[in-house]
Symmetry: C2
Subunit: 254 residues, 2 copies
């Protein structure tokens, strides 16, 4: 890394610093390497600590740096491509889709979810929690909301909680005829419970993928999956030629 | 808004404050309303300014608040659903897809783009810039990279620059047989030029949508679209039943 002093530039100083740092990361640092501390870096580039911190935050947003408590700031590996299931797929849990069942409970979902489900604002629904692990790392946590009306065959005698209960709910859901699904992706901040599962601090930037599953009767289930935004790149394959990739080194289509 | 004093809680203070503020926004504030200033809010909730600022940042990430220079912090309208073209669509610009041509130049793309295109690290490619406007607001800026080899019919006599040049490049691209495309979505920070077009500061969080277009010969073009993460929710419709929606009030499938 050089000792470049920043010249006066029309763009914000932290932005220019970010560009300089980014090049330095490419040239002088290896993945996983720990950066010098903030005081040292600020001195090296002749900038205020606040400016440095803004630039580091940018690089974190872009997935170039990881900041971890007790470790410091390290050079991040390239983001992992994580395939998002597309409409060719059926109900959640139908095939090996990389998700692991954690448990099932009944909860009153947030107002926005209740609206999507068309359930009352005080109505509890089955809530299945799943996690997705890629390359040994938890990359996503999901809550799948299923109103009781969608799974009338589910008996109180079925396992009352835990993964077995979750499996019973998915099994009943799988009996319905899936007419379609849609999906949205937006920026969010990790809820405390998801953050813990994803080894992040509450409020860390995440990508929220909301999926609605439709039967002829309407919305049968809604899934909200929280993906780590620092380490994940969501991939959407060519329709009809879907693959669960862990990277995008090769084109999906031939 | 109440005068709730925050009790000691196991989760980070700013996170609890965020939840309290979020409820206050639901109950006591209208969309577009300007929040009291930071000093006043910090006093009202009995927290340090730094804690308040962290909570406000969270709410901004979640799209609940907008912070604009000279205006202050306002309550954000719900995010706009912006449909991302799916594999059912053809080449960019083929149909009315909500994108407006801005100009065309020749640039040497960043290393990551050159790798996707399979072009040399010093090789200039055609670069078409487009913007997408929804409800009168610029929601996305796109750079479409097209190697000269993909558009051999493009003549130097075609308009040398500007929208006419851009149109000529897309016209030539449209003559190729599109074999497939894939797409990825990840978190990024707005580049200075995109930020300007999107009325944001450089480094603002954005959603980067990278699309690769394949012909039998390989990757013919790569598009990198930068969507405002504060105001946009990217929607992916049901395959075969795609719509350009501005909200998701109605299910895509019947």
């Amino acid at each position: 890394m050089g000792t470049t002093q920043l010249e006066t530039v029309p763009e914000p100083k932290y932005w220019h610093l970010k560009t300089v740092l980014s090049e330095a990361l490419d040239q002088d640092f290896a993945v996983g390497e720990v950066l010098p501390n903030e005081r040292e870096l600020a001195a090296r580039f002749g900038v205020a600590r606040a400016t440095l911190r803004q630039a580091l935050e940018q690089l974190e947003l872009e997935g170039r740096l990881q900041r971890r408590r007790g470790v410091g700031t390290t050079v991040a590996p390239p983001r992992v491509g994580v395939a998002v299931r597309d409409a060719q797929h059926g109900w959640p849990g139908e095939a090996t889709d990389g998700w692991q069942l954690v448990n099932a409970t009944e909860t009153v979902p947030a107002a926005a979810i209740a609206k999507l489900l068309g359930t009352g604002s005080d109505q509890a629904v089955h809530t299945v929690r799943r996690t997705r692990v890629t390359q040994g790392q938890a990359v996503a946590a999901e809550l799948l909301y299923v109103p009781a009306a969608s799974v009338p065959g589910l008996s109180a005698l079925d396992a009352p909680s835990g993964p077995a209960r979750a499996r019973a709910i998915l099994r009943e859901l799988g009996h319905l005829v899936l007419e379609g699904q849609d999906r949205s992706v937006e920026l969010g901040s990790a809820r405390a419970d998801d953050a813990k599962e994803l080894d992040r601090l509450p409020g860390a930037p995440v990508l929220l993928v909301t999926t609605r599953y439709f039967t002829a009767a309407g919305t049968a289930a809604v899934s909200v999956a929280t993906y780590r935004a620092d380490t994940c790149r969501l991939t959407f394959g060519d329709s009809g030629d879907v693959q669960i990739t862990h990277d995008t080194a090769e084109p999906v289509a031939s």
